[in-house]
Structures are given as C-alpha cells and as structure tokens.
C-alpha cells in the first residue's frame, strides 16, 4: 500500500516543439508588422516605436509576478512542489523582462526627458520589483533543502508581490508631494493594433519561456529523486 507518487518527481510532459516555432514566428511577425506599419509620431518621431517592446515587456513582467504569486499561494495551500517550481521559473523570466523594461525605459527617457533616469512612479516601482525578484532568486540559490526553499521563497514571493502596489502608491505620493507630475498621453488608434498584437506575442513568448524553464526544473527534481532512490536500493513501487 504505497501512497500516491509525488507528482513533482514524475518527469514532465514536454511541450510540443511546434508550439515554440509558432510562438517565435508570431513574435517576429508582430514586431516587424508594428515597426513597419506605424507612422512616425508627430511629437516623438520614431521613438514611439520603442513602445512595441517596452509596453509588452512591462506587461509580461507584471504577469510573471502574478504567476509567482499564484504559484506561491498554491504551493503553501496544497504543498505541491510543482507550483514552487513554476513560481521559480516565472520569477526568473519575470526578472529578465523587468530588466529589459528598465533598459528600454531609459533608452526612451534619454531623448524624451533628456535624462536616463527619473524617479517616476512606474520606473521606480519597476526597479524595486526587479530588486525584489533578484532577492527572491538569491534566496532560492542560497537554500539547498527543497522543502525549505519552497516554503521560504513562497512566503517571500507573496509578500514581495503584495509590496509592488504599495511601492507604486508610495512613490506616486512622494512625487505628488514634490509637485512633479507625469503627463500620460492617450494612444491614437493607428498604433493600437501593433501594440495589441505585440502584447499577445510577448504573452505567448513569456508563457513558452516559463514553461521551458519549468520543464527543466521538473526534470532536475525527477533526476534527483531517481538517483536518491537508486542510492537507497533501486527503484521499485
């Protein structure tokens, strides 16, 4: 009467290769489409085109944090290690996009505002989010025991995700106090289609990245389990 096998020790069902090709094909198409079809903006000229990588990066970074939050909560609730591995993969991909968003924002800010950096609420909270994700990943790399690592990083992930809106709120308020206003501009419809297409492409791409990293993590855990079982006298039921 052996208990149900722990799902995280099973090897994952790998994603079909065609999905990756489709996602990348779509991504290249949407990027080319948006860049080639969008007219130069009256105010910003071609700079506006940065939007097609910047806004989707920012969106998927927050979506990735959402997945971290979900995975962490689910792990604490059900103690399913797969949720922990999913959260970790998502944090990693999220950190990459977070860094990308920052760099793109700076490249856009330099010609627009004349400075590489401004303590704007969005920029600042993205930077803080990046630091929180780095901290999360550092914690994971410093803890070996899988159960402890899962539990600790789940809690850190949840509280980190809670902190994101709080940081945003406090920085926004901080700037209001110092009477610095950001001026948001509404988007004209001729740019909207390219942006929406890229948002979709980035979302799919991120999902694919996270899934691939998740697969790798599952294989690693399964391999660990197999060699552990082998060391204790072979695999049986």
């Amino acid at each position: 009467m052996s208990p149900a096998p722990t799902p995280s020790f099973e090897p994952p069902r790998p994603l079909h290769a065609a999905f990756g090709w489709l996602v990348f094909g779509f991504f290249i198409f949407t990027q080319a489409y948006a860049v080639l079809t969008s007219p130069a903006d009256a105010m910003m000229g071609h700079l506006q085109k940065i939007m097609y990588v910047h806004v989707p990066s920012a969106w998927v970074e927050f979506a990735a944090v959402g997945v971290v939050l979900f995975g962490s909560l689910y792990f604490l609730w059900k103690e399913d290690e797969r949720a922990d591995l999913l959260a970790a993969s998502s944090a990693e991909v999220g950190a990459v996009f977070c860094g990308l968003t920052l760099v793109q924002g700076m490249i856009w800010g330099r010609p627009t505002w004349g400075v590489w950096w401004t303590w704007d609420a969005r920029l600042t909270s993205t930077l803080v989010l990046f630091l929180i994700l780095v901290g999360y990943l550092a914690l994971r790399s410093f803890v070996e025991d899988p159960h402890r690592r899962g539990q600790w990083s789940a809690v850190v992930g949840i509280i980190g995700a809670i902190n994101v809106p709080i940081v945003w709120m406090s920085v926004k308020w901080w700037r209001t106090m110092h009477q610095i206003q950001s001026n948001p501009r509404s988007l004209s419809p001729e740019y909207l289609r390219g942006l929406l297409l890229n948002l979709a492409a980035f979302t799919l791409l991120t999902a694919w990245f996270i899934w691939r990293r998740y697969e790798a993590a599952r294989y690693e855990r399964a391999a660990e389990h197999v060699s552990q079982a082998a060391a204790l006298g072979g695999i049986d039921g």
Partner: protein, 53 residues
Amino acid sequence: MANGMIENGGIAYVVAAYVITWVVLGALLAHAVGSARRARAEYDQAVKGGYRT
C-alpha cells in the same frame, strides 16, 4: 519635450532598444532550450543508472 527636438526621429535610440531586447530574448531562448535539454539528458542518465543497481 519640444517638437523637432529629436534628431532623425531618434532612430538610433529605437535601434538600440530593439537590438538589446532581441539579444536578451535570444539569450533567454538559448538558456531555456539548453537547460531543458540538459535536464532531460540528466534525467535519462539517472534513470538508466538507477535501474542498473
């Protein structure tokens, strides 16, 4: 943010932003595919070794 302040419509900045994005995404792609493949191979190795004992 005055009109016409940006030379060439800021092409150089646009190119820089896209190049950086694609390079980073390319690196992430290589990392994701490579790590999944390596982990897969490691797992297969462990299974083979595990049954032999």
